[in-house]
């Protein structure tokens, strides 16, 4: 005789996701198979690297989640669920769970979890989203089965760094490397990293040169090697290695080296993906080859979405791919038209500069020329070069900019002094209408050529803004132009009219307003960052927003961005052209709820900047 314990079902149904599926009759059957367990404080529920076969519900008490390194990741309380990460991966658990209070736990058999996960969208959305939100945290502890795109470099480190003092001689250094079986050696001075020596250096700079083995190792080391922070993504390491043609990168945490990552570590990690696309781009010698690669872009994009990458990672990857196309084309252009007569810098504007590109973007770019530029003498060269590059970018899927903000436009192909004049003019004598179309110029990144030109211009912009705070009033007003699609009762307001009558535009009405808001604050605090999330960090540090508000913006951006990316992936899979229009009817209740919250945050923050930068006149 089967009987039901109403206590158990009632307790489960007071919490998400069960509250959302409370009317599913199968829940009754599930509750009958629940197992209960009382665990004293301080004991393992899922011991490190143990196999897990249940979804745990905390009926009372509290649990701490520990990473592989035994670091506490977070605390979970009454009503929360755990263990689903491992169930979704066949039971392998990368995190350990321990009680921190006396706890009463319900164990729901894995098959019930998997059944609801498969059959019920509301149910699975809950876990999908929980995954999204916790991805960053979780990444610290997962090292085995995530892709290169979603794991931090620190997770690939396999041993302590091997180092020696700069005064050691070459022979001693080689002996240390042999003893520890490493192909690179860090060189330190008073424990500070000052250089690196690799097998190749020993071969080419010592042996082949006939150098005495008693010479100090510092004579053959690479000074100030390229380093990365422990929190950087592994994918960025690959990009750096390919761009700079190095095979070893020391990883730094709090100013100290904690390990070295090598090409071997990365290749073992993954054999496909965006990084290989980039290396392919750099190998191409013809437009035809580049065009072929550009056709694989959508595949790479969907792969990234499937790999659980968040919007930041995807934006980063897509921007690096975009940048690779530009760089390759400019290299080919310089081969075709000859070396540049004066230095120049090709700059990306807008999303590419912010490293937030998605699958479908127009090109927004410009050229800063050295002040030695003479239009009579050099004009033809740079016109030909720019036209050629912009045209072929269009061939590679980066459509020509409808607003003509491209290097091929003479107005946006000017010497540094003219650019400085442009910005001084915009900032000192702001005109609301004109500024509306100029905001992307305030996201400006040098990507090829003499990048100091772009740096100088960015510095000029910051100085001008500092001296003319009235400009921020206009920017704040502009950031209020595009409103989130929320009605008075928090229902979604659709764009209306024609084909798009059942949809709204996530980019125009959600993502762009956030970027605008953040840009205003970033200019106000003199941040030199371009990426929106990095700007948010600077804003938070500068204390421009009340506590927690900066994080809210980051979360809202991630939430809206994720819905957009998912939507684009689905459009691609349905054979449609990806765009930014979303039909709310196609969203899960969970996505709707969170999207509403995100839009609400945007509205409030728009109000806030109006007052924050009200200026004298309003």
């Amino acid at each position: 005789m089967d009987v039901e314990l109403t206590e158990i079902l009632d307790a489960l149904c007071q919490h998400a996701p069960f509250d959302d599926i409370a009317d599913d009759p199968q829940l009754h059957d599930m509750s009958k198979e629940v197992e209960i367990q009382y665990v004293r404080a301080g004991e393992w529920v899922i011991a490190p690297s143990a196999l897990n076969n249940a979804l745990f519900f905390i009926r009372s008490g509290a649990i701490e989640v520990l990473s592989k390194e035994n670091k506490m990741i977070r605390r979970m309380n009454e009503g929360e669920l755990f263990g689903y990460f491992s169930l979704l991966r066949g039971g392998k658990s990368s995190q350990a769970m321990r009680t921190i209070e006396d706890s009463l736990l319900y164990r729901i058999p894995a098959r019930w979890f998997l059944k609801f996960y498969e059959e019920n969208d509301t149910f699975s959305d809950f876990f999908e989203l929980a995954r999204e939100v916790r991805l960053r945290i979780a990444m610290d502890s997962q090292s085995s089965d995530v892709s290169l795109m979603t794991c931090p470099v620190v997770s690939l480190l396999r041993r302590q760094p091997i180092s020696t003092d700069q005064s050691s001689d070459i022979r001693t250094a080689a002996q240390i490397m042999t003893e520890h079986r490493v192909s690179s050696l860090l060189i330190t001075e008073n424990d500070e990293l000052i250089g690196i020596v690799t097998d190749r250096d020993l071969r080419t700079r010592a042996v082949a040169q006939g150098l005495s083995y008693d010479c100090p190792i510092s004579s053959i080391m690479t000074h100030d090697p390229i380093i990365m922070d422990s929190g950087d993504y592994a994918s960025e390491a690959v990009l750096k290695m390919m761009e700079r043609n190095v095979h070893h990168i020391p990883i730094i945490k709090h100013g100290r080296p904690i390990g070295v990552i090598s090409t071997g570590d990365l290749i073992q990690k993954e054999s496909h993906g965006s990084v290989y696309l980039i290396s392919d781009i750099y190998k191409q010698t013809s437009i035809e080859g580049l065009k072929n690669i550009s056709r694989k872009m959508t595949h790479t994009f969907t792969q990234l979405v499937l790999a659980d990458a968040n919007t930041q990672m995807i934006g980063n990857a897509m921007s690096h791919i975009g940048t690779a196309f530009v760089k390759r084309l400019l290299k080919l252009a310089e081969e075709k038209f000859g070396p540049p007569p004066v230095p120049y810098c090709f700059i990306a504007l807008g999303s590419q500069a912010r490293e937030e590109q998605t699958i479908k973007t127009d090109q927004d770019n410009a050229l800063i020329l050295s002040d030695k530029y003479d239009p009579e003498q050099h004009g033809d060269y740079f016109k030909a070069l720019s036209d050629w590059v912009c045209q072929h970018l269009d061939d590679c899927g980066y459509d020509l900019c409808t607003g003509d903000i491209m290097a091929s436009n003479t107005r946006w192909r000017q010497p540094l002094k003219v650019w400085k004049g442009y910005f001084s003019d915009w900032i000192q004598k702001p005109k609301a209408e004109a500024l509306l179309h100029l905001s992307i110029f305030f996201d400006l990144r040098g990507i090829y050529g003499d990048k100091t030109l772009a740096k100088q211009l960015n510095r000029h912009i910051r100085q001008e803004v500092k001296q003319h705070s009235g400009f921020l009033t206009y920017m704040a007003r502009n950031a209020n132009q595009r409103k989130p699609p929320l009605g008075f009762f928090r229902q979604f307001v659709l764009d209306g009219g024609g084909k798009q009558s059942h949809t709204f535009n996530l980019k125009e009405r959600g993502i762009a307003p956030i970027i605008d808001i953040v840009r205003v604050h970033a200019l106000a605090c003199g941040s030199d960052k371009l990426n929106t999330l990095e700007r948010i960090e600077d804003i938070e540090e500068a204390g421009l927003l009340p506590d927690g508000r900066a994080k809210d913006l980051a979360l809202a951006l991630e939430m809206i961005g994720m819905v957009r990316i998912r939507n684009q992936k689905e459009q691609i899979e349905a054979g449609e052209e990806p765009n930014n229009q979303v039909n709310p009817e196609n969203l899960s209740s969970f996505e709707k709820r969170h999207l509403r919250d995100a839009f609400h945050i945007v509205s409030r923050q728009q109000e806030f900047i109006k007052f924050r930068y009200a200026g004298k006149r309003s």
Binding site: M1, V3, L5, T6, E7, I8, A11, S31, K32, E33, V34, E35, I36, Q37, Y38, V39, R40, G42, E43, W44, V45, A47, R59, S60, G61, E101, D102, L104, R107
Partner: protein, 243 residues
């Protein structure tokens, strides 16, 4: 759950000379009991006294009755749920309602949340006692307050089979009493409450609505798990604890 935790105040073990030989008693009663379910129950026997607590098949039990006097009042519902020190298995839970000989008074109806209609449709206890016996076979029963629950079942068995039903029990109330035992110089003020709900709160167990036989069985099952985690030696013989 592999980390050894120090147990605080321990439940006193029954010294070997005072331990009951349940296997022998069951064997005797199996000979005397009338043919039928009760005889089969005793014939199936009881687990050996040397089985460690952690390997003992435990079954939490709770009764709802028409009153508090075993000789006069009647059982109207009975809930069972199996457990060990690690797991309470809802899948093995069982629940019966029984229609009393005499009609319910209004007072006990409000306590039990069982309505007259529900009871009117339920079978008599004699129709379900066979099933209950089968469920109890070779199990060590867990109750909160042995004197009431065991006595009610004994009376019912006398009435229906004409022979007593008796079985070993772990009594969570008695265990708690020992844990709470205070030397005389500390016995000031109110003694701590031994009610099920009060005991549960000491282990930070959640509060349940009382007076449903199955929920209360679950309550005492959870309480015993907590007591085992805190105060009992899982490797000790079951004979050190059962009464």
């Amino acid at each position: 759950m592999n980390k050894a935790t120090t147990k605080t105040a321990c439940v006193k073990k029954i010294p070997p000379k005072n331990q009951q030989d349940w296997q022998a008693m069951y064997a005797d009663w199996a000979k005397e009991a009338p043919e039928g379910p009760l005889k089969r129950f005793y014939e199936a026997g009881m687990i050996a006294a040397q089985i460690p607590l952690k390997d003992t098949p435990l079954l939490a039990l709770d009764l709802e009755t028409t009153g508090l006097e075993p000789s006069q009042d009647e059982i109207i519902s009975l809930g069972l749920i199996p457990l060990n020190h690690q797991t309470i298995r809802c899948q093995g839970a069982k629940y019966w309602m029984a229609k009393p000989e005499r009609s319910l008074n209004a007072e006990s109806v409000t306590i039990h949340e069982i309505t007259h209609t529900e009871l009117a449709e339920a079978p008599r206890l004699e129709a379900i006692l066979d099933d209950i016996l089968e469920a109890l076979t070779q199990q060590v029963v867990v109750v909160h307050c042995v004197s009431i629950e065991r006595q009610f079942l004994l009376e019912a068995s006398m009435k229906i089979y004409g022979y007593p039903l008796y079985f070993p029990v772990l009594d969570t109330m008695d265990i708690e009493r020992q844990v709470m035992h205070r030397p005389w110089w500390k016995r000031f003020g109110q003694p701590p409450s031994l009610r099920l709900d009060a005991c549960r709160q000491r282990y930070k167990l959640p509060r349940y609505k009382a007076h449903h036989a199955l929920t209360d069985a679950l309550s005492s099952a959870e309480l015993l798990q907590a007591q085992m985690a805190y105060h009992m030696d899982l490797d000790a013989d079951i004979a050190s604890y059962w009464v």
